[in-house]
Structure formats: structure tokens, C-alpha cells
């Protein structure tokens, strides 16, 4: 023992305890930036609701008083309630069978039906709303014109500018969320569970209703709640379809308050608060359901080949059902825009004389309206920059969340999810209050939009990156460290290359979302800082059918190119079959 104690011990110099300083530094920075992005505008929104004007530090409850005694509030509450509840109900009613058809039956053309999941990814709600406004307006809507032409009826068949119209269009564009959640759950279910029911004596139909659907219930519910949140949040559809019919909901009413002369900033902030609370409650409920989902352990990471149910003759009914949905949600709207981009004047029959490329040429040469190219440039700059910043933040956030433990992990998980529950309108109001004053006077610049986009879509990026990060064993990094690589080197040489597909998928997802963002942009843009979605809305307001159509198609084309690129890159960048 003595000899051991006497032996000369060499103590290495410059060793920190705990190790990995650079890592801790970056972690603190990540947490800080995320917190500022998410909490700073929320804080100012709250402050704003108590301040009569942005620049004067004063406390008053007058904004709340005005909002809660206003004549619009009961109507707004009623409209929002009816619209969101009905939309959630119908989206679930439509989406679950659609998911079941794709995941569990032998219906033909399933690849085509699977496009349903892609619709909201490709078609912004703005496009659907505008297309349906053209299709279903009571006097000039194509469906109504065709109907009176066929039957001679004076009455319009379908007036889209109504609560019914609002619910129909909302449902069409939100059904895919339920579909997506449910079909994934149904595909990943262990077929043993259903086989066990069959052996016990249950027929296919009984098995579906007593085993399959209940097991998918957490997924169905969490899809439904997402639809609920989205229906509260989306601005484009109530703005394009509700407002012309005099139907105002929360987000459009907030917009009205900002449009007024003078703009009622604090009323908008006060009205944002209940909206935020409802969304937060819904998100909390969804998290509880997802948390419960784990006890079902139907998703074990294994890939299953689910048993398909033979539908016989009914498979054509199933196909027709799916086909009808696709026609209403995708085919008709795109036909409208294609027609719109080459027709001389809206409503003319399609003959060679009536077709023209004039509008296309004027659109792309920029002759039509300087707004067009300006907005395309702004959108590209914002989305490229925003998606890049957001994906870096998302990567760091998912890394520290997946590799960390305890309180900082819980906080990162929480803070990176919160924006899901913040409607674009609410973020916009918060940002208006936050960045109209020193030290960050960003109102009137593109920066405020960049911040809005980064904040709104961080959850998408985190989701995309973490789903690939959890597939990467921590042993891979540990092996790099053991071999002699420091933290940054291990991150760059081992983690980043392996994460590339996930990073790129997250980047594309956020880029596409940012390209079409309207809910916040419409309240934050200033003259010269219009984005494509804003331009689309403004052009639609000006009733220029052809340019609206061309703008819509351009927006979709850019999204599609991006998605196509992503598929190429993911395929090419994976020589060793990494995942």
C-alpha cells in the first residue's frame, strides 16, 4: 500500500471537470436561442394585451374589456366552435376508413390513394381555398354555372361562402392528417394480435372493429386533435371562404382588428390569448394520448407485413370512395388553376380561340405586376435561409434531447414542441409587439418574417431529425470518442453524415412549409416584403384569376421540385444502405 502511495502519479494538465466544454457551450446556446424564439414573442403578446399602444408603457385592462363585451365575440366563438368541431368530426370520419382501405385491404391502385397523404404537403390550404372559391361561388362558380347549364336551375347548387362551404373545404384539406396518423399505426401493427382474434373465432369485420380500430385509437385521436388545432390555426380558408360570406372566426377577426383604422393592436393581443389557451389545451391532450400510446406497444420498431382483408366486389366501392376524395381535394382545384393560367377570361369555354399564353408570358417576364417577382424572390430568400437556420437548430435540439437526460432534455422536448400550439396569427401578434421596439427593431424587415418562420416550423424539423437520430446508436459516437475524436469532430464525421437524409428531409419539410406560410406573414409583411403566399392572397383580392392561377402553380412547382430533389438525394446519399 505504501509503495503505491509513494509512486509518482502524473496528473494531466488542462483537464476540465466535467469534460466536453465545447459541447456544454453549444448546448446552452441552443437552449437559449430556442427559448428566445418561442418565449419572447409570447411574453410580448401578453404584455401587449395590457398595453394601450405598443410604445407606451402603461397597464390597462381596457383591451380585454373591449374584446369581451364586443358584439363580434359571441359570433366569433360560435363560428369557430362549429367550424372546428364539425371539421374535426368529418375529417376523422373520412380519414379513418381511407387509412384502413390503404393499410388493410386489397383495394387496387393503393399507391394512388396514398397520394392523399401528400395532398396537404403539396397543396397549401390557400390554394384549396381559392380554387374552391372559384368552383363554388354562388353566381360565377364553375360548379354552379355547370349545374344551371345542365338543369336550367336558377338556384346555385352549392354556395361555398357559407358555414357548410367552410366546413367542406376545411375537411377536404385536413382529412390527410387523420389519414396519415391512422395508416401508419395500422401498418405497424403486429399481425399476431389480429391472428389471435381470428383463432379465437372473430371474423375479419369483427376483428377490424374490436382489435384493429381500438389499437389504432391513440393514433386516430392524436390525428383528430392535430386537425382540431390546425382548423383553429389556418388563416387562408376562413379568409378566402368565410370572410366573403360574413363568417368570421378567431384568426380572421384578429386580422380584421389589425386592418382597422387605427389598427387595434392590443385588442388583437387580447383576442389571441383565448385562442392560444385552447390550442395549448389541445396539444396537452394530444401529448397525453401519445404518452398513453406507449402502453399499447403496437409499434415495436419491427417491420410487419400486415394481413390484408379481401374486399371482393367492395374493393371497387372503396376505390370509388378514395377516388372521389382525390377528385374533390386535388384534381378539381388543379384543373381550375390550369384552366385559369391559359384562358383569356374566366368563364369562357375551352376552345382554341379562348386559350392564350399572354398571361404566362407577362407573368414570367414580370410585366404583369412587380409584386410577382418580388414576392418569389422574398419567399425563396426567406425559405432557404429559414429552413437552413431551423434545421441546424433542430439538429442540435434533437441531439441534446435524444442524448441528454433529466431536466434539460424535458425542457428541450417541451420548448421545441410548443410552437405547434401557437397559431400563426398569435405568433405574428407577439412578434409585432416584440420586434417593434428596441433592442430588436425588426418590424418592416424580412427578419421578422424569418424569425416567425423559424419559430413556427422548428417542431417539424425536430420531428424529422429526431426520428433519424434515435436510429443512430450512441455507440457510434462513443466509438469515435474512444478512437480519439473530440465532441465536435465526432459530431461532424460520424453523426452528420448519418443524419444527412433526416436533415435533408427536415429541411425540405420546413422549406416547403415556409414557402406557403400565410397565417403569420399576412400580419407581418410590409410593402416590398410580400411573400408568395401573401402575393397570392393580394392577387386574389384583386380578382386577377390568371395571375392567381399562375402564382398557385408556381408555388406548387417549387414545392414539387424540392420534394423530388429530396428523394434523389436520399437515394443517392445512401450507398451502403444505411437505414
Amino acid at each position: 500500500m505504501i509503495s503505491k502511495a509513494l509512486r509518482r502519479r502524473v496528473i494531466p494538465s488542462g483537464v476540465a471537470f466535467p469534460a466536453f466544454q465545447s459541447q456544454s457551450l453549444i448546448r446552452v446556446a441552443t437552449i437559449l436561442i430556442l427559448s428566445v424564439l418561442v418565449l419572447y414573442p409570447l411574453f410580448w403578446m401578453l404584455v401587449g394585451s395590457f398595453q394601450p399602444t405598443p410604445m407606451r408603457m402603461e397597464f390597462s385592462l381596457r383591451a380585454y374589456e373591449r374584446v369581451f363585451t364586443s358584439r363580434y365575440l359571441p359570433e366569433v366563438l360560435w363560428n369557430t366552435g362549429v367550424m372546428t368541431v364539425a371539421t374535426t368530426f368529418f375529417a376523422t370520419l373520412l380519414g379513418v376508413p381511407l387509412a384502413w382501405i390503404v393499410a388493410r385491404t386489397d383495394t387496387p391502385f393503393k399507391l394512388l390513394i396514398n397520394l392523399v397523404a401528400m395532398i396537404p404537403f403539396i397543396t397549401p390550404p390557400m390554394l384549396g381555398a381559392i380554387a374552391w372559391a372559384y368552383l363554388g361561388s354562388p353566381n360565377s362558380g364553375f360548379i354552379n354555372v355547370a349545374w344551371s347549364g345542365l338543369t336550367g336551375a336558377e338556384e346555385a347548387l352549392f354556395n361555398v361562402y357559407s358555414m357548410t362551404g367552410l366546413i367542406v373545404v376545411m375537411t377536404l384539406y385536413l382529412t390527410p392528417y387523420v389519414f396519415l396518423f391512422t395508416s401508419i399505426a395500422m401498418q405497424n401493427m403486429d399481425p399476431t394480435l389480429e391472428n389471435a382474434a381470428a383463432i379465437t373465432g372473430a371474423g375479419p369485420l369483427r376483428t377490424t372493429f374490436t382489435i384493429t380500430v381500438p389499437l389504432a385509437m391513440p393514433a386516430i385521436l392524436s390525428g383528430a386533435i392535430l386537425v382540431f388545432i390546425q382548423s383553429l390555426e389556418i388563416f387562408a380558408i376562413p379568409a378566402a371562404i368565410g370572410s366573403p360570406g360574413g363568417i368570421y372566426v378567431f384568426v380572421t377577426q384578429i386580422y380584421q382588428l389589425l386592418l382597422g383604422v387605427p389598427p387595434r393592436f392590443s385588442d388583437a393581443a387580447a383576442l389571441s390569448l383565448p385562442l392560444l389557451l385552447i390550442c395549448a389545451l389541445a396539444l396537452w391532450l394530444q401529448l397525453k394520448i401519445i404518452g398513453k400510446d406507449k402502453s399499447y406497444t403496437t409499434v415495436s420498431g419491427k417491420t410487419f407485413r400486415p394481413k390484408l382483408i379481401t374486399l371482393g366486389k367492395w374493393r371497387y366501392a372503396a376505390l370509388a370512395y378514395a377516388g372521389l376524395y382525390l377528385i374533390l381535394a386535388a384534381v378539381l382545384p388543379y384543373l381550375v388553376f390550369i384552366y385559369g393560367s391559359v384562358i383569356r377570361s374566366s368563364g369562357l369555354p375551352i376552345t382554341l380561340d379562348n386559350l392564350t399564353l399572354d398571361y404566362v408570358i407577362r407573368f414570367f417576364t414580370g410585366e404583369a405586376n412587380p409584386l410577382i417577382w418580388r414576392s418569389i424572390r422574398n419567399s425563396l430568400v426567406l425559405s432557404l435561409g429559414g429552413a437552413t437556420i431551423a434545421v441546424i437548430l433542430a439538429a442540435l435540439c434533437s441531439y441534446y434531447s435524444s442524448r441528454g437526460k433529466g431536466r434539460s432534455k424535458a425542457y428541450l422536448d417541451f420548448i421545441s414542441l410548443v410552437p405547434i400550439a401557437i397559431p400563426g396569427a398569435v405568433i405574428a401578434i407577439g412578434l409585432l409587439w416584440a420586434y417593434i421596439r428596441p433592442p430588436f427593431q425588426l418590424y418592416g424587415t424580412l427578419w421578422i418574417l424569418l424569425i416567425a418562420y423559424t419559430t413556427r416550423y422548428i417542431p417539424f424539423g425536430v420531428k424529422a431529425v429526431s426520428s433519424s437520430i434515435i436510429q443512430i446508436s450512441p455507440d457510434l459516437e462513443k466509438a469515435a470518442h474512444i478512437c480519439g475524436a473530440g465532441w465536435i469532430r465526432g459530431f461532424v464525421t460520424v453523426l452528420v453524415p448519418l443524419l444527412l437524409p433526416g436533415l435533408f428531409a427536415g429541411w425540405v419539410l420546413m422549406f416547403v412549409s415556409m414557402m406557403r406560410e400565410l397565417s403569420a406573414s399576412i400580419m407581418l409583411y410590409s410593402s416590398g416584403r410580400e411573400t408568395m403566399a401573401v402575393a397570392l392572397y393580394l392577387l386574389w383580392d384583386e380578382a386577377s384569376f390568371q395571375y392567381v392561377s399562375l402564382m398557385a402553380l408556381t408555388l406548387v412547382a417549387i414545392s414539387l421540385i424540392c420534394i423530388g430533389l429530396m428523394r434523389l438525394v436520399v437515394k443517392a446519399g445512401n450507398p451502403a444502405g444505411v437505414h
Partner: protein
């Protein structure tokens, strides 16, 4: 190649002592195994040596260098420890070829170009995977990945090699082959090696010395044969191999031996100074140490027990006979033919030196 010294190593997880004040010295070139059931603290110990876990008390030396010390506030990060490690999941980087995987650690040590190529080739030759240099890990079998992982860990000649349950992801046949292969590779490289496993056969085959751990503590350190033949306590005896336990009472004690009463039978065994006459003692007899016959052996056969056969199990090449006698049950291993069936009377006896008294 350096020795490793661990003094008073302790780790808490919340209120639980995952590793509880352990002391251990691993000699140069020695292969030592940390053996124990899951949760015994063996992996935590390894992770502390690797630098992935901080210490709550104690210190770790490699050669003359302290790499972790709670009192000195030293925590060398893993990449500065110059260790090699083979992970349970192999941890091969899927986006790098076999050669790139192996060359990674060399590059970080400033070894590049022809020199690196040569070392990579040597490592590949060592694990007999020369033709696979340009394959990706996903194109290799489990055993091959295992060997690449080994080559990657040893190519830069680390001070200590750490093996974290490297065989547990392989299927049974391959696992058995790889035991010998890993041991052979370790001997060839001559590296000081710390091996963690819960598989007692792996530990037996591969180690110079075994460290048996239970609930964060070291319960016994010794050569495989010592551990098997003189287990320090009931836990070690039952964890390493199958054994018959019986509670007995010491009847007499002399220099030449003790006599222990087991129900109706009296067994002679080696004397132990730590147990007095009249005390309870735990007796352990390995199933294969019994001799057995259906006819009564000649008088004077030591430690003869007469019992009734309960069950006979064929194990492939050998039988296990379960018997019961007044106050005790036994499992007896027999090679070759012995026609007994349940209900028969069986005579079995055991040499006194094969009867082990386990301290309670």
C-alpha cells in the same frame, strides 16, 4: 500496454449505489473479466474507465496517469484516454468502409498515407478480413463485423482494450467460436484487456482472472478455476455453473476434516476454521462430482447417500438425475448409460474434497 488500477470507485444513480467502492488492479497484458448479472455495476465500471461516466468517488489510473479522479477533479474525456473499445452493438460507422472504420483512429493520431495503409492491412490480416477492406459494415456478417470492430479498437495500439459484452449479439454457435477467436486475438496483441460479460462460460474460456460482481460490489476475484471450485459465497456458487445447495449442521471438526449432517446423511469434507461445531453451514456439491450406481457400493465408501429417483433428464450425451432423500434434493450428472427410472433407489457418493462449505 499498461496496467490499470482502480481505487474506491463509486457511482450513484439517484440513491442507488450502482458501483460501490471497488478496488481492482489489472496487470499488463492481462485479460480480466467483469462478470455478473445485469445491474451488477460491471458496465457502469467499464463506462467509467472509458470516460463515458463521471465518478462519485475514487480514482482510475492507467499506467502512471490518472484518467479519472473524484478527489483530484480529473476527468479526462474519452478521446484523450488512448483506449480501444469493442461495443456490444459493434458501433461500426455504417457510412464508412471497413478500411475507413479502422483508419479513423490512426488519422486522429496523425498516422496517414502509406504508413496508415500498412497498419490497416496488418489489422485486417490479424482478424483475417483482408479481402473486405472496401466493403461497408452492412455487407458483412455479424461475426465479421465483430472482427472489424476488434481491428478498429486495436489498430492504434491503445493502452487498454475494453470489451463491452462483444459477443452477446451473435447467435449461439458463432458466439462459441468467437470466444476462442477473441481470446486468441487478445493474446496476439498482448493488450491489457477488460472484458465485461454476464455469460459465465465466456468468462471461463477467455479470462486470466475473473472479477465477480454483485449489486455494485466485487464479491470474488480469482482465476476461473478458483472461482468455480472455491466460490466465495452462495451467489458466486450459483452464478457460476450449476450446483446442489443443502443446509447442514457441523457435527464435528478436526484437523483432517469436518462432518456435516444433511438431513439423514452425514458428509465428510475439508475443515474450515471459520465454522464451529453446532453451526449451520451451506454445502455445495457440483452435479458432475457425484458418482452413482443402482447397486449398493462396498462398505466404507465415503459420503454415500441413498435416495429415491424423481426424474431423469436426457441432456444429449449425458443424463441429469434428480433425486430426493430425507432433508435434501440433489441433481446428479452422469455420462454414459445408467438405467434408472423414477421411483428407483440410487446410491451416490462424492469425494470429501468435492464437498464445499460456502460461508453464509
Amino acid at each position: 500496454m499498461k496496467n490499470v488500477e482502480i481505487n474506491g470507485l463509486t457511482k450513484f444513480y439517484g440513491d442507488v449505489k450502482a458501483v460501490d467502492d471497488i478496488y481492482l488492479r489489472v496487470n499488463q497484458g492481462e485479460m480480466i473479466t467483469l462478470l455478473g448479472p445485469s445491474g451488477c455495476g460491471k458496465s457502469t465500471t467499464l463506462n467509467m474507465i472509458a470516460g463515458f461516466e463521471t465518478l462519485d468517488a475514487g480514482e482510475i489510473y492507467v499506467g502512471d496517469n490518472v484518467i479519472s479522479s473524484h478527489t483530484l477533479s480529473v476527468m479526462l474525456p474519452p478521446h484523450k484516454r488512448n483506449l480501444g473499445m469493442v461495443f456490444q452493438s459493434y458501433g461500426l460507422w455504417p457510412h464508412m468502409t471497413v478500411a475507413q472504420n479502422i483508419g479513423y483512429g490512426l488519422k486522429l493520431r496523425g498516422i496517414r498515407g502509406a504508413k496508415a495503409k500498412e497498419r490497416i492491412a496488418d489489422a485486417l490480416r490479424l482478424v483475417r478480413l483482408e479481402p473486405y477492406a472496401n466493403r461497408y459494415p452492412s455487407q458483412l456478417s455479424g461475426g465479421q463485423q465483430q472482427r472489424v470492430s476488434f481491428a478498429r479498437a486495436v489498430v492504434y495500439n491503445p493502452d487498454v482494450l475494453l470489451l463491452d459484452e462483444p459477443l452477446s449479439n451473435l447467435d449461439a454457435t458463432l458466439r462459441e467460436e468467437m470466444r476462442f477467436e477473441l481470446k486468441e486475438l487478445q493474446e496476439k496483441t498482448g493488450l491489457t484487456t477488460i472484458f465485461v460479460t454476464h455469460d459465465q462460460m465466456e468468462a471461463m474460456v477467455m479470462s486470466d482472472r475473473i472479477v465477480v460482481m454483485q449489486a455494485g460490489k466485487i464479491v470474488q476475484i480469482g482465476e476461473p478455476r478458483d472461482i468455480y471450485e472455491s466460490p466465495a459465497n452462495r451467489f458466486v456458487a450459483s452464478f457460476i455453473g450449476v450446483t446442489n445447495f443443502a443446509e447442514g449442521e457441523v457435527l464435528s471438526r478436526s484437523d483432517s476434516g469436518m462432518r456435516v449432517a444433511l438431513g439423514g446423511a452425514v458428509l465428510a469434507c475439508a475443515a474450515r476454521p471459520d465454522i464451529a461445531v453446532g453451526e449451520k453451514a451451506l454445502v455445495s456439491i457440483r452435479p458432475q462430482d457425484w458418482s452413482a450406481d443402482t447397486v449398493q457400493p462396498e462398505a466404507g465408501t465415503p459420503n454415500l447417500i441413498e435416495s429415491r429417483v424423481e426424474k431423469v433428464v436426457y441432456l444429449g450425451g449425458s443424463y441429469e438425475i434428480w433425486t430426493v432423500t430425507a432433508g435434501a434434493r440433489f441433481r446428479i450428472h452422469r455420462y454414459g448409460e445408467l438405467s434408472v427410472s423414477p421411483g428407483d433407489t440410487l446410491y451416490h457418493w462424492v469425494a470429501p474434497e468435492r464437498v464445499r462449505i460456502i460461508p453464509n
